[in-house]
Each structure stands twice: as structure tokens, then as C-alpha cells.
Symmetry: C3
Subunit: 152 residues, 3 copies
């Protein structure tokens, strides 16, 4: 018997949703590296000796503009990676495709807002807190639903 990936994709629309948002969120996280590099050049704050020599700049690990982007990047690692691992488990719980798509879309929008208010146009709280909370609640819902579904 032959079971190609196309068969699985056709029969399980939530898989297609998962793979699409994986690509979107991967590109969003790759952007964080570019934002960090940009701040390192703008603030002349490079991370180690060989970089400073090569670029005729200065080593600094305490520049607030750089560290802010790095904290945003770490927050993405704490949140987006966990969401993609959890989301993969969630799609096996037989969820409604339209509902699943809404959850993935809302999570993604929340993360873009989080990065914007944290690292691009620094915005007073609770902007960052709320954008973070959206993703946290969605992820918690998915993890709990998966836990209950497979606990037998």
C-alpha cells in the first residue's frame, strides 16, 4: 500500500493549517535576528571581540536597545517553539478546521504585536502583556485539550 503525504494532507485539513503557520512563524522568528543585527550596528554594540575587530566597533553586552530585541527573541523561543510543538499535538485531537485556523491566526497576530510593541515602537504596558497573554491562553487551551484527549 502506498500512503503519500498528499493523501494525508487531503484527508486532514488541519495539517495544512499547521504547516502554513509554521512557515509564517519561522519567518517571523528569523526577523528577530535581523532586528538584533540592526541594533548592534545602530548602537555600535557587538557581542564578542572578533566581531568588534572585524567591524571596527566596540564590544558591549549591556546596550538596552540590543538587549530589548534579544529579550523579545528569547520570549519567542519560550512561546513560539512551545506553540508549534503543542499545536502539532493539538491537530491530532480531531479539532474543527475553521476553529483551528482561527486559533493559529490569532496566536500569530498576537506574536507580531508583541514584537512590534516590545522592540520596534516601544509602547507602555499593558500592550506587551496583553499581546503575550493572547498566545499564552491559546497555547494553554491547546495543551489542556490535548492532555484530556489522550489521557485514557
Amino acid at each position: 500500500m502506498e500512503v503519500s503525504f498528499e493523501h494525508l494532507l487531503r484527508t486532514n485539513p488541519v495539517l495544512r493549517i499547521y504547516l502554513f503557520y509554521t512557515a509564517v512563524l519561522a519567518l517571523k522568528m528569523m526577523l528577530m535576528t535581523l532586528l538584533t543585527i540592526r541594533q548592534r550596528f545602530l548602537n555600535n554594540a557587538f557581542v564578542c571581540e572578533e566581531d568588534a575587530v572585524f567591524l571596527r566597533g566596540v564590544v558591549s553586552r549591556t546596550n538596552e536597545n540590543v538587549e530589548r530585541v534579544r529579550r523579545g527573541h528569547r520570549n519567542d523561543m519560550e512561546t513560539i517553539y512551545l506553540f508549534l510543538l503543542t499545536g502539532f499535538a493539538y491537530i491530532w485531537t480531531n479539532p474543527d478546521p475553521a476553529w483551528t485556523n482561527s486559533l493559529f491566526l490569532l496566536f500569530t497576530v498576537g506574536r507580531f504585536i508583541h514584537t512590534f510593541v516590545y522592540t520596534i515602537v516601544v509602547t507602555p504596558q499593558p500592550a506587551r502583556g496583553l499581546s503575550w497573554l493572547v498566545g499564552y491562553v491559546i497555547m494553554g487551551y491547546m495543551a489542556l485539550k490535548t492532555l484530556i484527549y489522550f489521557y485514557n
Copy 2:
């Protein structure tokens, strides 16, 4: 031909094990964020200016109670993420389901103990070292077995 996720789950019990522990470990990692927030409030040590303003607190990035939880969270990222990616590969190597379940369970217990002795009731070494080692050895075994299985 229709190949739904239910068919795959029924025919491959190790998949169900993987998805269940993904949910457990995701909830465990989400807890780390709550533990960090708790320490930030208990120690009045917030991570950036806009948080301190909003909460009428102080910015501090060197509070040991906060940093301890953050190190535990980073250790989870170094360990649990890698375990879930490796564990997904491992379940394709045709392992015995009961054995696989034991490995996933033991890894998970090890990580809960790691967090407890590192960030909740600070315990002398080698408590943290041993709880970390359990997970490291299980992960190494899975990665090696997968490497050998697919090396052809």
C-alpha cells in the same frame, strides 16, 4: 484513498504516547513563566522600564531568585524542546510502546524534579545534577538509536 489521523493513531500506539507527553511537558514549561512572574512580584524586580512604570516597581535583572527561575526555564528550552524533537524522530524507529512510554514518563518526572529542586525548594547538589542527567541520558539514547536506525 482516505487516510485520516485516526487511522494512524490506531495503528501506531507510540504516536499517542508522544502526543500525550508533548501536552504534559508543554504545560510544565508554561508553568516556568508563571514562576518567573511570581518571583518578579515577590522581589520587586521587573525586566524593563515600561513594566516598572506600569506596576510602580523597580527594574532589576540581577535578582538571584528571578534569575534562578530564568535559568531553569532556559534549561527546559535546552532539554525539553530537544527531547520533543528527538522523541518525534525516535517513535519512527519501531520501538516497543511500553518501553517508549517508560522513557517518556521517566524523562518527564526527571524534569519536574529538576524544576522543583532548582526553583521551588532550592536543594543542595547533586539533586539538580542527577535529575538533569536522567533526561540527558534518555535523550541521548533516543538520538543514537534513531541515528543508527536511519543510517543506511
Copy 3:
């Protein structure tokens, strides 16, 4: 109908490639922890009080040799985790197996070089920058191709 994992592996050779490189990259990342531990002992720089007491050493979080390995490890988390999540999505876009294998191999080689020039034999730039760029470009290509493939 029975759909075992063996059927899927036989019909989709790119899956086998993905699982093999997951194991290789997992072992490579596990190495980072050993490199960190080695530098902590060589430089007598332990991360917290209970470790220093147990090992009769000193607490230090600013030793450059240790921090260099930790930055390398973090860069792996920013890069390899995202690559494995993106790579999983990419293999569903019906890519050529030989081409896919080349991309995974090249990414992996790039990451080994990155670790070598960053943390084992410290090498002037642009060695680290170029080895990092290889992985970044491959990952970006995969994410973009996946985005376009599933955007309908």
C-alpha cells in the same frame, strides 16, 4: 485499514531524511552542554551557589570562555530548533529527495563549523558569520517555499 509508520516512510523518502538529521542535530546540540560543563571546570566558574559548594569552586557568570559556549548554545536554539520545525513543514511540499538531503546536509555542516569557530578554536570573522549565514539562507528558503506552497 492499517497505516503503519513503515508505509509512510517507504512512500515518502524525505521523511527518512528529516528523521536522520534530527538525530544528528540533536546529538550536536547535546554536545554544547558538555562543552559548557568543560569550560565551567576549566575556568572554575559555576552557575550557582549549590554547585560551587558541592564542587568546592566559585560562582561566576561572566567568564568569557563559559559565556562564549553559552552564546553558541543559544544560537543553536535560535537556529537548529527553528530549522527542525521549518524542515518538518518543508518536507510536505513535495520536494526532490536528493535536493532535500543536500539542504539538510549543508545546514548541518554549517552548524558544526559555527560551533567549531565560535567555541573550540576561536577564529577571526567572517568565519562564524559565514557559517551562520549558510544555515540562515537554507532555513529562509525552506520557510518561503512552504509559505507559498500552502498559501491558497
